[in-house]
């Protein structure tokens, strides 16, 4: 038998997930900061965060069936899921869970697959985790998401936290980040 660690794809191994988590944590702590993961950001992020105690709504069917099984997660509707995965080019056609005043951590984490994320001056971010302002450019994100985000996050502490994923790159927009278009 060959060494088990070499036969399981890297994405599903604890060490890879630990490394990826530290980058995701940095991304959340520094909104708009781009982290480059060691593998496909979409699958690696899901593999790192999800297990049987979480629920997932894959709105546009972005995860291949085999990988979906390996996530061992519970399938839920986008209205109730802890994690909602969607194609960022589409228009949001659902209302995610926002949590409650007493338990705002129930607000969903949205993972939006887009074409590219980069530094640039299309959007100016400010808020906790940002020293002054941070500028980013996004491609393949339907602006309707940002409008919807604004209304979902209107009543802090309730709201949604967003991860934008493109290739191996990921950036986070927690509910506290304010976004201004150029």
């Amino acid at each position: 038998m060959s060494n088990l660690a070499t036969t399981i794809p890297s994405v599903w191994q604890p060490h890879t997930q630990q490394q990826a988590y530290r980058q995701l944590m940095q991304a959340f702590a520094n909104p708009g900061q781009i982290e480059t993961l060691s593998d496909d950001a979409l699958l690696l992020t899901l593999a790192t965060l999800l297990d049987g105690a979480t629920s997932l709504a894959d709105v546009h069917g972005l995860i291949p069936a085999l990988d979906y099984t390996r996530l061992e997660t519970v399938t839920a509707t986008p209205e109730t899921a802890h994690f909602v995965l969607a194609d960022g080019a589409q228009v949001p056609a659902f209302a995610p869970s926002l949590g409650t005043l007493e338990s705002p951590e129930g607000g969903a984490t949205l993972l939006l697959a887009i074409t590219s994320v980069s530094e640039g001056n299309a959007y100016t971010l400010s808020g906790p985790g940002i020293d002054g302002v941070r500028n980013i450019a996004l491609q393949g994100l339907n602006p309707a998401w940002l409008d919807a985000r604004e209304s979902w996050n209107a009543a802090f502490p309730m709201g949604v936290d967003i991860l934008l994923l493109a290739g191996r790159k990921v950036l986070a927009l927690p509910r506290t980040t304010s976004i201004k278009g150029a």
């Binding site: 105690a53 951590e105 607000g107």
Partner: protein
């Protein structure tokens, strides 16, 4: 028989739950995210909350520093460091702040400012600052959600009426990003300003109370105070109004511990042992030069 532990002792599902809780804690600065707080092979109240965060974050390339009341050599720090060394093969440990990527601390924030590449984990005995004014957790959660801290402010006001001073020496209630008020763990007042606009992420773990909360970098952290009674840190001045130096290294810019000598006289020394050693080494080097 040798026993092999999973890397980091905790199983991967337990780590994932802590990791998800941390992300929500960062997204809602100062909010106490409930988590399951697994059994650890030491009593709750011995830093299990901080330890579970550390073990969920740590990787094989990590350099960890563990501090207890500023010292790397006191019993809680030594025990936790040895536990991590036992269960996380490949992890480096250090007493030097500038070498550490991950710092777990009980009751102090290091004197030297942290860097953006470092993460500080604080052990928390009592996470909720409202517990002194409201016994029901359900009601406290509503008060936190509404950012209603009127009763806490009344408590501080009563202190001023009775003692002309807010008498909280540690665990000073601090408002994060203009909303949630946190118990910043039993750090002295001296350390509270370090929470404001911190270059590094600060995570709080309460194992017994099963809560995780966070102060992200570059976030406003304001100790509760009144316009006419501003917050102030501990004074280390002697009776003549001169700043006492550390008797070991001579530093006049650090938090000092008070020791009683055998003859009853008092002695003052840095609480942060790594800082004290660093200043002492610099002084010696300067003397040799």
């Amino acid at each position: 028989m040798s026993v092999t532990y999973n890397f980091g002792f905790m199983d991967e599902h337990a780590k994932k739950e802590v990791r998800r809780s941390i992300l929500k804690a960062i997204s809602i600065p100062g909010y106490q995210v409930p988590y399951s707080s697994r059994e650890m092979p030491m009593g709750r109240g011995f830093g299990t909350g901080g330890l579970q965060i550390t073990l969920s974050l740590i990787g094989a390339d990590e350099t960890l520093k563990v501090i207890d009341q500023g010292s790397d050599d006191s019993v809680n720090a030594v025990n936790l460091r040895q536990f991590v060394e036992l269960t996380c093969p490949g992890v480096n440990t250090t007493t030097h702040l500038n070498e550490a990527t991950l710092i777990q601390s009980r009751h102090r924030i290091p004197e030297v400012p942290l860097t953006p590449n470092q993460t500080l984990v604080l052990q928390v005995p009592y996470p909720d600052p409202l517990v002194v004014v409201e016994p029901s957790e359900d009601k406290r959660k509503v008060m936190h959600g509404e950012a209603d801290y009127a009763r806490l402010l009344v408590k501080l006001y009563e202190d001023i009426v009775k003692f002309d001073e807010i008498t909280i020496s540690h665990r000073y209630p601090t408002r994060i990003n203009g909303h949630y008020v946190i118990d910043p763990s039993p750090i002295p007042r001296w350390d509270v300003p370090k929470l404001n606009n911190s270059p590094a992420l600060i995570l709080f773990g309460a194992g017994r109370e099963k809560k995780i909360y966070a102060v992200p970098p570059h976030t406003i952290a304001e100790p509760l105070a009144f316009d006419d009674v501003p917050f102030r840190v501990e004074s280390f001045n002697d009776t003549h109004g001169n700043r006492r130096p550390c008797e070991r290294c001579g530093a006049t810019d650090s938090f000092l511990d008070e020791y009683i000598n055998e003859d009853g006289s008092k002695r003052y020394q840095c609480s942060d042992s790594d800082y004290c050693d660093t200043v002492l080494a610099e002084t010696k080097e300067a003397a040799h030069a």
